[in-house]
Symmetry: C2
Subunit: 374 residues, 2 copies
């Protein structure tokens, strides 16, 4: 069986639909990956995550290396067995989280030294250690170790950071390939940097293609630049990456972000938004987001979304969910998260269907009319 293959079944404008095949299962693209930060998609059992239609989930290297620890997970048989998810898992490299979450960071060419936000313990992440951790976890899609700078910094800062990330990409490639069994079953993705700058993005894409990866991520977006600037960057960034490889936009996003990014040629996404929003009482629907804390739902017997096929919508009223959310009940977090993850998967399926049918432009226009009310 193939280690990693990507086939594009249909194109519609820049949008593509297809399939990644790996040993642990296929991933239909465009794909949304629910985030399972600490070896759990928060508030959901793994079989419920799968039942929403998710083909792959994401695990966070930074969180898992600190708790319960990569070596411990390896001793326990790997992340899949530990958390009872037997389909593909993509792990990030820790590069983004170490800069956003940890304390007392020291960034050098070698890597990042930092203190855990949990207990203050000292750690070092390098391209080599990141590859080792992702191997210990048993990741199916391994991400190269990169630095993700804030997009609002001067061009020379962005350029220097991007260039170091490209050296780290080479070191990641070398470490990944260095004779472990893992390289024969897992895939390695590179990460394009360069913030909003077309020329830096181009340089980054060329360097990554030269090194050669199974897939290519677009990093350094969804860091506060806003949707307009993100879309402006996505007008060129995906085209700079090899067209026969999956393109993964990291950390994105809202439903309308996903539609706009697929329209621009992106194949994969991950984001905490559906799960985090679910825990906070926000539901995504085809008619836009709903805040279930709002008193107007107190006696609303409708489901969250009458087009949604999830168990929450088939079983529970907005009135009940309003009550659970207002009462801080765990079941509220459970049911809202399940709906949101299911809604995201239904959105991805609708996009795959529209691309296959050659009607993506109509789909996107109709989606925006309903979702954004414009």
């Amino acid at each position: 069986m193939t280690r990693f293959s990507f086939s594009i079944d249909a194109r519609d404008g820049k949008a593509r639909t297809g399939r990644i095949s790996m040993k642990r299962g296929d991933i239909r693209t465009p794909a949304f990956m629910p985030v399972g930060t600490a070896a759990t998609v928060k508030a959901m059992k793994p079989e419920s995550v799968r039942a929403t239609g998710a083909d792959i989930i994401l695990g966070n290297t930074y969180h898992l290396m600190l708790r319960p620890g990569a070596e411990r997970i390896a001793r326990l048989g790997g992340l899949h067995k530990f958390m009872n998810w037997d389909r593909p898992i993509l792990t990030d490299s820790g590069g983004y989280q170490v800069m956003s979450l940890s304390d007392l960071r020291k960034l050098t060419e070698k890597g990042v030294e930092f203190r855990s936000h949990l207990d203050g313990s000292k750690h070092m992440l390098t391209p080599e250690r990141s590859m080792e951790i992702q191997r210990l976890l048993g990741s199916d899609i391994v991400m190269a170790f990169d630095e993700c700078p804030r997009a609002d910094q001067p061009r020379d800062v962005i350029a220097k950071s991007m260039e170091m990330s490209m050296r780290w990409a080479q070191r990641s490639r070398d470490a990944f390939d260095s004779g472990t069994e893992h390289a024969s079953v897992a895939a390695l993705f590179g990460i394009q940097q360069g913030a909003l700058d077309q020329d830096l993005r181009k340089q980054s894409a060329e360097k990554l293609s030269e090194i050669g990866f199974d897939g290519y991520a677009i990093g350094g977006l969804a860091v506060g630049e806003g949707q307009e600037a993100m879309f402006a960057t996505l007008d060129f960034a995906p085209d700079q990456l090899p067209s026969d490889r999956p393109r993964y936009l990291m950390g994105v996003g809202k439903p309308d972000d996903l539609v706009g990014a697929v329209e621009r040629g992106v194949d994969m996404f991950d984001c905490v938004l559906p799960s985090r929003s679910g825990r906070n009482g926000q539901a995504f629907t085809w008619n836009g987001p709903l805040n279930l804390r709002n008193a107007r739902f107190a006696e609303d017997t409708d489901p969250l979304d009458d087009r949604c096929s999830c168990q929450t919508c088939g079983t529970y009223s907005r009135a009940y969910l309003h009550h659970l959310v207002k009462s801080g009940e765990i079941l509220g977090a459970m049911l809202m998260t399940e709906h949101n993850i299911a809604f995201y998967q239904q959105l991805m399926q609708a996009m795959r269907d529209a691309i296959a049918a050659g009607t993506f432009a109509d789909f996107a226009a109709e989606f925006r009319r309903n979702y954004l009310r414009k």
Copy 2:
């Protein structure tokens, strides 16, 4: 179909096993009722609660009258529909919670005036209002409104309180019977009071029998008196109640409390312990409780209990549960609660089987050897 019937299939010493039949389903006794305080058994979907073997759950009048409100639940079609539980629900009367949870209580012969612990709003609970609320909720087993005094007070205080509770029991009976449709489908239980005093308990039981109820609860225990005092009271209290009616020990308890109470003739129980402990990282097992926060479980690949048939034990290691509990993950609360509720149901089934087989004394001795290590 019968409104309410109770049949005893087997007796073994004072222990009995049988069945309560109601329109919404049968309740196998001895029965443990998971507590669904705010219209949810915390951290569990209702179908998972049912899958553990629970025939009936409990709802709290005090919590539900304050949020979302009994009239609101009635407008939404009743508690069963609201929370998606179609089997029997027992509701308490609010008498206990109003004294333990609310602010600024004023107790008179008429009832209790109090302020909500949620928003300070003023409310009044009387026997008549409690019956009305339980009717609005659509309760299957309605509890009479009573006062539950602390057991460590002087005998005359306990006696006066019990006597008022018996007048309230009559008012509850009268209000319940006063010509609503609800009385033709629901059952009404009286509540024995009298703390640890055999004579007061006897007076209370006689008064309740005189009024006549479908079942009889033993109230005023599990309020801090300790297991020894509770068992000493249970040595006589169940015998004072009609032997052909179910006897319900309110708010109890630990697994060894349940075994000792069944041994003394109790048929029904409710307690927040399995769900609350689950959320706090404590698991009940046939070999005693386990605190999953303990570092000794960090790499323990065993299930919580190798005799348990629940999904948690069939799927997840102690190591994973330790990780989830330590990380404060909602999935930890979900899986631990599910195990604990399932363990309680398996314990009840084992007791029912032992009584039917006439081996309850052996079962209880074996249980204590393993559970209490003595």
